[in-house]
Amino acid sequence: MSSSENLPYLDPSEILLEGSAAQRFKSRSDAFWSGIRDAAGAPAVVLFSGMVGFGAMGRTNGIDGWFTALSSLLMFALPGQVVLLEMVITGSSVLAIALAVTLTSTRFVTMTVTLFPQLHEKDRNPSLYAHVHLLAMTAWAVSMKEFASIESKHRLSYFIGLGLLCWLISLPGTILGYFLAGLVPAAVTLGLVFINPLFFLLTFTEVKPWVNRIAIALGCVLGPIFTVLDRDTSLLTTGLIAGTVAYLVDRKLLRKKAGVIG
């Protein structure tokens, strides 16, 4: 990074991007395995422990094991799964459950819309309807950061490697948690439940564009207020309000000042 000190008008992250974007990966399989390797670090640990925590939650509340495991495999969306479990435990109606879970999952619409346009033209075909199941918050956060330094033709392979490992470990994680619950001390379960939100909180410090930083800050402030008002719709309402305000602040104020946009 020392060379960037001679170039005060350039953002160091941009120099890195220019240099490596040309050929980070040799081939699609190289990109795929690199995705697997990147997933095998913090993302897999976070997701695995989150799923272990979820399995333990199912068991300690007397929920069917198949039900708990299938939700990890077929939904693969931990926040939605937690909402599902909470509402099943408290005996909500089937319709209310389906609606609340779908509202929690609306973030997938915008997550997909912000990630997939970055793929190569050739990869933007109907096969994405299958690949999209591998998209979860962990893989999205990592991809949004890494795509900037990956050539577009190798982005899909990288994403599949990343998402596939995350998805594959979610089922064994849930099953392990289901059978471990009651065996490990409550303090350990506490740590497992906490690791997920902590991971997301930490990844926010790596977000560069100011428009997204403002959106995160506003979401953190408004989120609890809207959650208290109405838990089920709070994600959608906070997202729309905080996101729109951040976008407008960026467009009307920040973009006119040179050097502020990240």
Partner: protein
């Protein structure tokens, strides 16, 4: 907890509905993504909305949790988050794994001692 949990086939219909609702959101995203350019204004706006949603979900899991985490006093949860973010930002290269370990181990220690 009252013994009111959903039983029998209602349980499986709820699961099917939850899976379907979640997949439909992903599929709608693919459908819309085909028409959106990553340099467009709508892309910038949607990215901001998504980050705000993810932030809401995160802060909700930390400040207003349901279940085990709710037994930990809020100031302890906030203090541990502040310390973890401090570890993360103590290096320009970002220390993700040490920060994760700090937060998790601090909370486990609190749970073990309380």
């Amino acid at each position: 907890m009252m013994n009111a949990s959903l039983q029998g086939w209602g349980l499986w219909v709820a699961l099917a509905g939850a899976c379907l609702g979640t997949y439909v959101c992903r599929a709608v995203g693919v459908l819309l993504s085909g028409r959106i350019n990553q340099d467009s204004e709508i892309f910038r706006w949607l990215a901001a909305v998504t980050y705000a949603m993810v932030a809401t979900l995160t802060v909700r899991l930390i400040l207003l949790p349901v279940g085990l985490l709710a037994t930990v006093p809020m100031w302890i949860r906030i203090l541990i988050c502040v310390l973890s973010v401090g570890v993360m930002m103590s290096s320009p290269k970002r220390r993700l794994v040490p920060a994760l370990l700090t937060g998790t181990l601090l909370l486990v220690s609190y749970g073990a001692l309380s």
